[in-house]
Symmetry: C3
């Protein structure tokens, strides 16, 4: 049970070298857009969005159009008709007749992984529940590369909701693979990075520290990654009111920042970045959107090329079957798929669909 | 009141010769896709889906794109804005300004027929309630042709819900026109083929027999067409539980089948074909999807060509006006259209929109 | 705070000369469609429809496709994901990365105006609440031009709901700028043109008279513009029943019309034009739809050309800040935007977003 074709399900599916290649290709697309204007002529992208995400869907759509290709799919409720009692495995074997590559957004974690096992065309995970959203991470990385010229020797601050923010977890894993990276995690106590990530970081020996004071962290940061702090994450409204201002970025807080700090945000923002910050030369969240389009162009083009070349995924994963996954958001809880786990180097087993630790109780899964 | 242009509203709108032509064209498209990659350049298909049907909509969309054309339309709720108090006759006279051909899905039976009377461009019925779905039948036929090489001298079994399954009725009418066809209808007693179809088959002298035992029928079949048996069709849950397994296809039931049996299903399946059957060389339901795209390409191309040539529908139908149709799902019950009936050779009169027998009571219409 | 780029937010954003140019271009597109079949190749239109309007959306889509361009966007509920707590200003700065021009439909008045202040690409107002719908007015004008050959020396009758009918207000403003125009306003007393429009007409010295008798007005009309009279606009059902027939156009009422009268309607119609009228040679409401597509082609092409040339909006508007707008449908009531007013020649101040008079009470705004 392993796909015969290269897909992008989570950011670490691509090696550091492959990400470097992808970024280099995106840079060439930015420099020479006309060169790529027809490279996907007569190719079709299917955008299968089981839950709405207009921004991501439009980004994929624009990307495919700028490569000269066509786009078809569904964007929300219409999905009910596809999924009406139909398993993901059947849906992709239907849709692969209509398209050359699929971008799938699903509310269940691991659904794109299941799709990749049955499809004869590449699958791109366009967000699966709170699990992964690798093309957002690629957009973040292209933005960093365009402004810093490197992925190494950087101090990266994350601020806001670090417990549920999948973009934070994913960028941490992606950047941690380069040398000289330091992380600063700025959050209220309730929303610190999840245990599994802290263990993972510790194990890999990344340098990091945690704080709840953005001002204090500010002077060290090369990159500040803001995320939204949602009121409903807090135990009480008082607590929220007491804390929220500490995690709102405004010009006074930026006073002690490096001159060349860059500010990222996955958007949409609500109030966590004051509008006055938009004029700061390092405020790159709208450019990040543009870079998201360019890196998706590079990704679609690359996966289609690999599919044509017959390049196969290499996996040294040690897989075992075990009892069903305890994560209520895992695709395995709604569709009949075998309960398979990856055995990590430390002996722990993680659900192949949603990465939850074997035997986790729902209440312990963020 | 007869359209000036050729449309496809039900499968028998096309003669046997025209279907042969269409299948031959689809075979050429499959063999030489590049030859057709631009034949609909600057043409537009409007997909007017008043109820969602993602699979069918994506099939039409992919078909038009592979012919080099463009696609626009609506897929569900958005329809409310078109249809907000607006009759189908007005809607098509609006949309014909935006497209060259229309594929219409509607919950009311006969709506595409009404559309065809007002439009100056071809209408394809993409499913009107429980009435007709001719492009599904064309997909079935292309699949049969690709694997059997002929439409004659075949034994065709239908299994499951034969009362409400419009794909069954339509394929029966289509295949019955060829010589040497035998039908086997396998269903629970509650879901046998409707009386009107049995009368029609008797009148035309087709060979058939009915049974409720799939195993018994199996050895004779060249083609097995599976359909879904829905729990809600049964009088009681006990009855459903007692019967359902008899109409589920699994490997043991296939043991006594011919070696070259082919298995069709209009999809989506729920549980009426066990997943183990997917590996059977005759399991063609996913190929059927692919063939659906190819035959729709042939159909769109053909109807556009006929429209350009000014080919007109030939009809020797004997039409009369009478009292309003009694079928609550007929378009004539929601829009003011004249109550017109076709007089058949045996003197019976059938609503021109939904084919219901004149004077039928709603309770007698399946 | 003034956009650096030309947009079309209300009909008077274009001078009489610019509208003449646009109409001339549309006439050339009609005569030589092939000449324009690729002029927008590799350009993209984003249709941001925060509320559904299938007819208008399909018209923009078809227009862009006939210019060789691509279309992406959303059509209704999906919008919730874009707008989920996100202000219009942020949304357009996202979407401008995916498209070259935006057509925006919004339920809040003035939303396209806000968009135009932040976007670096042209914005077309595709309808903002009950406020403006300038491309409908352009469709009306092209239809008048094709059949009358001029915009001057015409008597234009409007019939139906003249209080809420934004197409009426907009066409009045647009046609009033030509010489020799006379208006006849035919409506029940409850639905006469709004005070602000009557004041505006008086001030500009246009010739007009008001009546509640369509038959009486008929003989003078060169153009009859019908609109729908909605039951819910009346104080009582009796009143509606008593009045409704007076504002339904049928063949008897047309008996005393000029031979070359033309009949317009923005569609969809419900019952305000009898179906028998469709056969009248002056019944142009379906041609109006077609003209809507052609004038949108001219508009998209023109705005993209102006954007490339860097043509900037010229505004001599006298702007002042004041207290928040009292119109509950104004975009300024749901998003934090500065309360800005245009000072008219007579000293009155009008909200820059929704045109409401400063200090208006909600109950006085139609």
């Amino acid at each position: 049970m392993l796909s015969k074709i290269r897909s992008l399900l989570e950011i670490t599916d691509f090696t550091v070298e492959e990400i470097d290649e992808l970024v280099a290709l995106a840079m060439d697309i930015i420099a020479n857009p006309k060169k790529y204007a027809d490279v996907c002529k007569s190719k079709k992208l299917a955008t299968l969005f089981y839950e709405p995400s207009t921004r991501t869907r439009l980004s994929f759509t624009a990307a495919m159009m700028e490569l000269g290709g066509n786009v078809l799919g569904f964007s929300d409720a219409a999905a009910s008709s596809v999924s009406k009692g139909e398993v993901v495995a059947d849906t992709v074997r239907v849709v692969e007749n209509f398209a050359d590559i699929i971008a799938m957004r699903h509310n269940k974690e691991g659904a794109p992984w299941v799709a990749s096992q049955y499809a004869s065309i590449p699958i791109i995970n366009a967000g699966d529940g709170g699990h992964c959203h690798p093309t957002q991470t690629l957009a973040d990385m292209l933005t960093i590369y365009r402004h810093k010229g490197r992925f190494s020797d950087l101090t990266v601050g994350f601020c806001g909701d670090l417990l549920y923010g999948r973009t934070v977890h994913s960028l941490t894993k992606a950047m941690g693979r380069y040398r000289g990276i330091q992380f600063v995690f700025v959050s209220p106590d309730e929303l610190r990075i999840p245990d599994y990530l802290r263990r993972d970081i510790d194990k890999k020996g990344y340098q990091y520290y945690e704080t709840d004071k953005l001002e204090e962290a500010m002077p060290r940061l090369d990159i500040l990654y803001m995320t939204r702090v949602q009121k409903e994450r807090f135990d009480s409204e008082e607590q929220y009111d007491r804390l929220k201002d500490s995690f709102i970025l405004d010009m006074p807080k930026l006073r002690h920042a490096k001159d060349d700090i860059i500010i990222l945000h996955p958007l949409p923002r609500v109030n966590e970045i004051a509008y006055e910050v938009d004029a700061h030369p390092g405020a790159l969240y709208f450019e990040q959107v543009r870079n998201g389009k360019f890196i998706r162009m590079a990704l679609i083009y690359t996966l289609l090329k690999w599919a044509e070349e017959g390049r196969r995924p290499t996996s040294s994963a040690n897989l075992v079957e075990a009892s069903p996954c305890g994560n209520p958001r895992c695709i395995s809880t709604v569709e009949k798929v075998p309960a398979i786990y990856t055995v990590h180097a430390d002996g722990t087993r993680h659900c192949i669909y949603c990465d939850a630790l074997e035997g986790s109780q729902p209440s312990h899964i963020p």
